[in-house]
Symmetry: C2
Subunit: 518 residues, 2 copies
């Protein structure tokens, strides 16, 4: 057995099922190992940003890592943006990156790069294998790290791939949460019970059904408010689940929303700050005189912590009773006439089937979706977490591989879609049930909004050229068909409803270009 085979064997033993790959000459021994040892499904992507974005989508849905296989520093570079998103979402991802044989690294060869240096800014865990003998342990360590919701990068030099090692040395990953900090949780519970205005701000696994239910029990017992962080990796929502609004994106609204609280309990969410700096100089949304309680870190089982806290604040027997916060089944009807961003969201909310996975990278066009879909049948919402656009299509691909029995609907901005448009081909190749609702507003609208907010109006010719996506208009039907995904273009809600219904009925991927008017 060689190092590459021990890597694959270890990964399979740890439950790895999928490898999103775009490899090169320095990784061919790893591909030979995938040939030799069945158990990992190889999924080809035509760009590394698709590999890492798909691994993010997969990991969010399965709570275990997909593997990526990337070519040296140049291949890793192309995958960095979506690893940044995965890191912000705390998604388990196992990246395997090939490296030149040890003796080759001293030479100034064309593809020599500082792989570790490239990986560090977007990763939680980075290691380079020292020999074939350590590959199994290193792989197990990488998987263990990833299972804590981390992006792991294991760099495997060629001589560690092809070197011989002992077959019995396969290591199984270990990953267990540490004990919760009960005193900390009790202090936070006390604050919520104190009768002053308080907020429970949810993030990470607090937005799964168990966490949401615990949060709803806490709210029902203490009268606190609950909110979700703005950029949540995954939210379970819809009829029957406690509904949680997300903290607004723009600073003024977020600060206003948070200003009323004396205490804020962070449950898997970060201390909320603005995405961008503005000239007023205020980054943090909370004030120094607001009391902050953090009840768990990444080493804790957040759902267990929330259950414990709910038990602390509520009466026995309330654990299984309805909290009264469950959303009723309540969805809009399909509207009529020309499509706008709002009627597109409304149509989706009207028709999305139970169990749908909604991947939202619609940026400005998706602004009303959350409200329309609150009472839709239960579904999962995946959003962009790190601001790196080009996340939606690959994420939808990965989610569809993770959950082949669930329909995936990708509400997708056009500008962002172009970043990783290659994902469509892999969706076609793998025959995945992904429906892309392409919001063709032909503009980087968010930038126009931000320029107006900063007082730069009207736009000059440079700003116009750099925010406008027309001239020529992208023809999404042709592009999609060119990559093997059947496509249609619609301009009214009725047509969207018809095409969406058809797409959801037919197996395989579809793209619907929604030409939006303002």
């Amino acid at each position: 057995m060689n190092g590459a085979e021990s890597l694959v064997t270890t990964a399979i033993a740890a439950g790895t099922e999928v490898c999103f790959a775009n490899f090169g000459t320095s990784e061919l021994t790893l591909v030979a190992a995938l040939d030799a040892i069945p158990g990992i499904r190889p999924v080809q992507a035509l760009f590394e940003g698709v590999c890492t974005g798909a691994a993010d989508g997969y990991g969010r849905m399965r709570d275990k890592p997909a593997m990526t296989l990337l070519h040296l520093g140049v291949g890793l570079s192309n995958g960095l943006a979506n690893l940044h998103n995965a890191k912000r979402a705390r998604t388990p991802v196992l990246n395997i990156v090939g490296e030149h044989a040890t003796w080759h690294q001293r030479w100034d060869s064309p593809e020599r790069t500082d792989i570790r240096g490239l990986a560090l800014p977007v990763s939680d865990w980075v290691k380079t294998c020292e020999s074939a003998d350590t590959v199994s342990q290193d792989t197990a360590d990488a998987i263990s790290a990833s299972l804590r919701g981390q992006v792991a990068v294991l760099i495997v030099p060629q001589d560690s791939q092809w070197g011989e090692c002992e077959p019995q040395s396969i290591i199984r990953p270990q990953c267990a949460y540490g004990s919760m900090d009960e005193a900390r949780v009790r202090r936070a519970a006390e604050a919520l019970r104190s009768g002053t205005a308080s907020l429970l701000l949810l993030g990470g696994r607090a937005l799964r059904p168990r966490g949401l239910l615990a949060a709803a029990r806490i709210k029902a017992s203490t009268g606190c408010d609950i909110l979700a962080e703005t950029f949540a990796g995954r939210i379970e929502r819809g009829a029957g689940l406690p509904g949680v609004d997300r903290l607004p994106y723009f600073p003024q609204q977020a600060i206003e929303r948070l200003s009323r609280y004396q205490s804020v309990v962070l449950a898997g969410s970060r201390d909320p700050v603005a995405t961008f700096a503005y000239r007023d100089g205020r980054s943090r949304f909370l004030r120094d005189d607001q009391a902050i309680f953090t009840i768990a870190d990444t080493n804790h089982d957040l759902e267990e912590v929330l259950d414990f806290m709910a038990d602390l604040v509520s009466s026995p027997g309330q654990a299984t009773a309805p909290t009264g916060l469950e959303e009723p089944l309540n969805r809009p009807t399909v509207p009529h006439g020309r499509l706008t961003a709002e009627t597109a969201c409304r149509t989706l909310a009207a028709l999305q089937p139970e169990g749908a996975i909604i991947v939202d990278e619609a940026v400005t066009s998706g602004g009303t979706y959350d409200a329309f879909s609150k009472g839709a049948p239960p579904h999962t919402l995946l959003t962009v977490t790190g601001g790196a656009i080009g996340q939606g299509m690959p994420c939808a691909l990965g989610a569809a591989i993770a959950c082949p029995d669930r329909p995936v609907i990708n509400l997708q901005a056009d500008g962002s879609a172009m970043y990783t448009v290659q994902a469509l081909w892999t969706q076609a190749r793998e025959g995945l049930d992904v429906t892309t609702l392409l919001c063709a507003n032909r503009s980087y609208d968010i930038l126009k909004i931000e320029m107006a907010r900063s007082g730069h109006v009207p736009l000059g010719s440079a700003a116009q050229a750099l925010t406008d996506l027309g001239s020529p208009d992208l023809d999404w039907v042709n592009m999609s068909k060119g990559m093997g995904v059947p496509a249609a273009s619609v301009e009214t809600s009725e047509d969207l409803a018809r095409e969406l219904t058809r797409a959801l009925e037919e197996p395989g991927p579809h793209l619907i270009e929604m030409v939006l008017t303002r």
Copy 2:
């Protein structure tokens, strides 16, 4: 005047004419400055790898930097692979990357990244502005660095963009070569004249007409051989210019080719090493017992050095006489029948017009192009220098912006094309005379070759899935039309000849999908 305006003013004063951009909220003050101060053409790209690849192509043709404008670390990440190629090509590139306002950087905001850490592995020069007052000096320093054939990254925090500074503080870049090391050049000349087998290995600016002519004079006087490095950023070639073969790619052939020499003079080329490590453990192509002479470093004017050396070894008066090494005008005829990689290259060589800029990212399909086009009318050849694929289409775009009066022909592999396919849209938007000859072999053929070379034959199902680009076949005509570039698909040399002739006659970009048989 604010910092952003001083940046733009300094860049214009230094001759910057173009900005390949994809910006975000943290760069909007820079875009407002582009609006306020005319002089830099803003070119929108729909992915940052297109921006940096275009800047590479532009810089190779103009010997001065284009500017890129990129959004924080996530935007820079997407541009890293083509910056790696630019660095290897020693192309002048000026990258402007926005950064959060200084006070915002301490917060764990969604797009916070270590921009400097991301830039370092692919850059020669990286700096972060400290205030608006230093922006002009920093910009001038960045441009000076780039003019030495370097990739420069200037990180500009928002408060350095919007802060006020003195308008009179605009700094002009300084860049001058140092004096050559005459003694070193004399020693190398001595070795070439010694009568033993010797080689002059050319790279960088040695492959421009002046360098080539000097090299030909040196060969004519000393009997040395001349070769070009394998991955040359830019080669001037064709009828009337001294023809130079490139060092073969595969180690066995390169080592064999170089084994005969007792002395090797490196003129702008690197000590040649294998791109990848193989199990035999040999990376460097030259042996320790071969004498190596390096006649210039990046601080020297290589063309002047070669002229000086040619004068040293030749008799007076020979400087303007023909060397006898000039290629005669001699091109193949258009072949007949089904297209193969070879007949595609032959057809191109038969028809390419004088002054064409050929961007070759055809990988395996382009293998015979060099030989067929040796005696074609004078032309420029740009190749992939750093092994990061996705270079061809953006490079062609940048070259076309740099040289609007010259036809650009991009001989392009399909797998590599998919990496930065978004470049087609910018080619259409800017109406550029780029003809893409798309080599549709529907396979990462180089990987199949390398797997066979390593003994991994036949391919198993994983290797097959990860090297095959069919299922579904990419339809390049639809994809190209979808981005606004007229396209046709051809299967015979005759059809290729007809479509290529038409594409070269019509203004604006075209794509010709060449369906290749084996």
